[in-house]
């Protein structure tokens, strides 16, 4: 069981401070009309259990609001679950909000230092990777211009280039691949595949693109209303997904 890197067991999540809902529940219990589990909601995740092993590449699909991003946020530790247990072993890197913290007046290079600091790279580590980052994003002379003049695709390149140059054991990817052009998207998918194959990185991918799921994942789960309704290989997964949507 040593190769289990992500273990989620019976997790429930309702957004917001749980203080007021807890008081309300106590009150209803006290007056003799206990609340049903649905009344305690709205639940973003309902009793979800997931196990991911080292080197796995798990796709998470489902309609908007199904709880995909919520699951990743709980794994990233930015929000706690209301019930259930979450265990993560190893370094985990959330590839969500790629351009978190960038300042429009600063150049691509300056923002790279900032993005690096946000994902936990020390200045020395970042300096060592700077060349690779600069090459990966292919921004050329734009790399030293303020990012306010960037197009959204160029901005995505910047964030992504820092993200794929971080050493990590577990990679969480949340719908961030779609912004770049086709060439860059392919480069990103190749790079992530390389991280899985060469470094044994574990991938959890949230995506609406059948192409991404098929080219990156070996396994997947389908979420609907916060509940996992199907799990299996990409082909069947995407068929099931299509069935829930149409």
């Amino acid at each position: 069981m040593n190769d289990v890197v992500v273990h989620v067991e019976g997790v429930w999540k309702r957004y917001g401070l749980p203080l007021v809902p807890a008081l309300r529940r106590q009150w209803r219990q006290w007056v003799g009309r206990p609340m049903s589990i649905d009344e305690q909601g709205p639940w973003a995740l309902r009793d979800i259990s997931v196990t991911v092993r080292r080197g796995d590449a798990l796709g998470i699909v489902g309609r908007n609001g199904a709880g995909k991003s919520t699951l990743l946020k709980i794994l990233a530790g930015v929000t706690p679950p209301n019930k259930g247990r979450v265990r993560v072993s190893g370094r985990l890197f959330p590839m969500i909000e790629l351009n978190a913290g960038i300042h429009p007046e600063l150049t691509g290079r300056e923002n790279t230092y900032l993005l690096g600091a946000i994902v936990g790279l020390r200045r020395r580590e970042l300096n060592a990777r700077m060349k690779a980052i600069e090459e990966f994003c292919e921004l050329g002379e734009w790399f030293d211009r303020p990012v306010r003049v960037y197009s959204s695709g160029m901005l995505a390149r910047l964030g992504f280039s820092v993200a794929v140059n971080v050493d990590t054991d577990i990679l969480l990817v949340d719908e961030v691949l779609a912004t770049g052009d086709i060439g860059f998207q392919k480069k990103c998918i190749d790079r992530i595949n390389e991280m899985i194959a060469r470094d044994g990185t574990t991938l959890l991918l949230v995506s609406h693109s059948p192409h991404e799921v098929e080219s990156l994942c070996r396994d997947g789960i389908l979420l609907d209303n916060g509940v996992p309704v199907f799990s299996g290989p990409p082909k069947e997964l995407l068929e099931q997904y299509a069935r829930t949507v149409y």
């Binding site: 273990h7 957004y15 917001g16 401070l17 749980p18 946020k73 709980i74 794994l75 990233a76 530790g77 930015v78 929000t79 706690p80 979450v86 265990r87 993560v88 072993s89 959330p94 969500i96 909000e97 351009n99 978190a100 913290g101 300042h103 007046e105 600063l106 300056e110 230092y113 900032l114 600091a117 946000i118 994902v119 936990g120 790279l121 020390r122 200045r123 303020p146």
Partner: protein, 272 residues
């Protein structure tokens, strides 16, 4: 295996927090003057212009000062007050303006209010340079002996640390609340205005009615502001009983606020 940290602090998280903290502070200073022609000069121009304005106002209104010119009396208190007020105001919105980072990584949330207090502190240190220029002018050109270097070297770091802790304690409370409910942003400017009038910045403490004195001195900024004056202007040690009030209030605020902040900060990402 380790349990997932919910913005908890292990040694590695603390290291990450420090890296992020310095990045946030340097982002502010790098970007602030980027599109201005005069650049960092503005940091000096602002206090200078205020100084001239108050020099004029002090003369017109014939404002009294126990020792030395009124503008010095005023500035010795206005500079630390500005530090305090700026820090507190910026804290309230510090999580909201960094929402994308809060939603991305599980770093201790104290980093964000702390970073803006540090920014305000650095602003304060720059304004101190202007203040020292003013003190030096009156000391040399007009022969009015003001600050003593030894008292300054000893007391200024202590007072600045105390102001820092008080501002960040109150700032944490405002950040904790302001992230959930925006009433804070309407209330803070009003409260700070009232607080400024309840602090002897523009007027002398002697003018405060005796009956109100005991209540008045519960205001921790009274002790702090008067202590800055004692050190910078009168060349004496501060009134320790007033300063003790400020220290106790600061400790009480931290003891009350920090546990609350720790609890509610877990859910910041939910509401941003």
């Amino acid at each position: 295996m380790r349990a997932i940290p919910s913005s908890a602090a292990g040694p590695r998280d603390l290291g990450r927090a420090t890296v992020l903290l310095s990045a946030l502070v340097s982002r502010e200073f790098k970007s602030r003057y980027r599109r201005s022609m005069l650049g960092p000069l503005w940091a000096v121009i602002q206090p200078l212009v205020y100084m001239l304005l108050f020099l004029f106002l002090g003369t017109v209104l014939k404002m009294a000062s126990p020792k030395g010119p009124y503008v010095v009396y005023l500035f010795c208190a206005l500079m630390p007050w500005t530090f305090f007020a700026n820090a507190v105001t910026r804290c309230a919105s510090s999580l909201i303006s960094n929402a994308s980072i809060v939603k991305k990584i599980a770093v201790p949330r104290e980093v964000f209010p702390l970073s803006v207090v540090i920014v305000s502190l650095l602003d304060f240190l720059i304004s101190l340079v202007v203040l020292f220029g003013l003190l030096a002018y009156y000391q040399i050109a007009q022969g009015i002996p003001l600050a003593s270097p030894w008292a300054c070297a000893f007391w200024l770091p202590i007072l600045t640390l105390l102001t820092f802790m008080l501002a960040s304690g109150i700032g944490l409370a405002l950040a904790a609340f302001g992230t959930y409910r925006y009433d804070v942003f309407f209330a803070v400017p009003l409260l700070l205005q009232a607080w400024m009038f309840a602090t002897p910045i523009f007027y002398l403490v002697d003018g405060v009615p005796m009956g109100l004195r005991s209540w008045y001195s519960l205001n921790p900024m009274v002790g702090i502001v008067e202590a800055y004056r004692s050190v910078l202007m009168y060349g004496q040690s501060p009134d320790l009983s007033l300063l003790a009030v400020a220290v106790i209030v600061t400790i009480v605020i931290w003891a009350l606020v920090w546990p609350v902040f720790r609890y509610v900060s877990q859910y910041f990402a939910d509401v941003l």
